[in-house]
Symmetry: C2
């Protein structure tokens, strides 16, 4: 562990960014409590003397690390999805990929867990808001009204967040990654988080399929309520 620095004692001096990256690493596997000057210094093989030359205090480091994180987060990761032309397939892919990966989310979870710190909360809010906004666009692109797109985006994002927590706190409740139940659940998600086709043009929707109460497609129903 802690192979943050390339080889343990290379002669290269440290940059501020090196400290910021080390802080992010520490967040990933120890939470923000891991962002402590002296422990970080030990991990980097130096002492506080170095740190306080690059940063005025601990908070400055935290801020820099968070900025770094926000950049990485709003950068390329969704790049491949933007190229997906079919909006329906695009939504399916988001749902699938986000609920599969987990690697990227360690930091997010740690940050969210420390959201009592207003500085951290600000970053978490920005990143999450932007993500929901993206989802909203995706849902609109599939033919939903702005209102319905908002609701679906909110729902889908809460599933993402909740799934993260489940996988962390109750791994027994989460199917093993290569099991058949796993792929079945992902398929299940892809459908539960995608409005029915006929929801997009309520005019064509059959008034009822089978049962009486509470049938009808999801989005169509709530849409007619407004």
């Amino acid at each position: 562990m802690s192979a943050t620095r390339d080889t343990i004692n290379d002669k290269t001096r440290l940059s501020a960014d090196a400290w910021a990256q080390a802080a992010l690493d520490a967040i990933a596997d120890q939470g923000i409590a891991g962002v402590a000057v002296e422990p970080l210094a030990r991990r980097l093989g130096v002492t506080k003397g170095s740190f306080y030359w690059h940063f005025s205090n601990r908070e400055a480091l935290l801020k820099r690390a968070l900025e770094r994180w926000e950049e990485q987060e709003t950068g390329v990761p969704f790049q491949s999805l933007e190229n997906e032309t079919d909006p329906r397939r695009r939504l399916q892919r988001v749902i699938r990929e986000v609920n599969t990966s987990l690697r990227t989310s360690r930091i997010y979870q740690a940050l969210s867990a420390a959201a009592d710190d207003p500085l951290i909360a600000a970053f978490v809010t920005r990143v999450s808001t932007r993500r929901i906004e993206t989802l909203r666009h995706y849902y609109e692109a599939v033919g939903l009204s702005p209102d319905n797109a908002s609701r679906w985006a909110r729902l889908t994002y809460s599933v993402f967040l909740g799934t993260l927590q489940i996988r962390r706190d109750m791994p027994a409740e989460w199917p093993h990654t290569d099991s058949t139940e796993f792929s079945q659940y992902i398929a299940f998600l892809e459908q539960a988080l995608l409005p029915d086709d006929d929801a997009m043009n309520p005019d064509l929707a059959a008034p009822a399929h089978t049962g009486a109460a509470l049938t009808g497609t999801l989005a169509a129903n709530t849409a007619t309520k407004s």
Copy 2:
């Protein structure tokens, strides 16, 4: 704040349970970091001397508080729901009530945020697992196969968790409690988290409603895959 003790300086001595309850209160509005001996003592108007008579150390207090929490959590709160005879209405009510309240969940969020502590993680896991189990029963009672009930329960619980996070970290994304959008979203949830009626008896489901690809009811579709 901190009116934990009845009146600030009543002569009654403290019991261990009083400390445990104070710890829970502290968790609710400061996170587990709030469970610190000396601050708690100040808040209770006593000194450490009292604490270390009742408990051997901080961890003992934490454990006792968590046990208290687990009791309260697996106790009455769902009582009224068990009396609901109509299983479909019961599910609707769970969805509605849990996503509306928030009060009860402050402690849960704080605990989940501190799930790096194995002691805390154990309690969180137990409580959450039990809750999912309850949901599973509810979904089975509505006519779903065990497999599908598991999936729906997992989905619904992740929505609960994710919604909590959204309301805490991005309150702007959550509709104001008495707005019309709020009630519309809850209605939306009640439908999105409830399988379609015809999903329960796939034989009766019409082969297709309108569109071609990806139609059919959610549960019916995944059910036929197994």
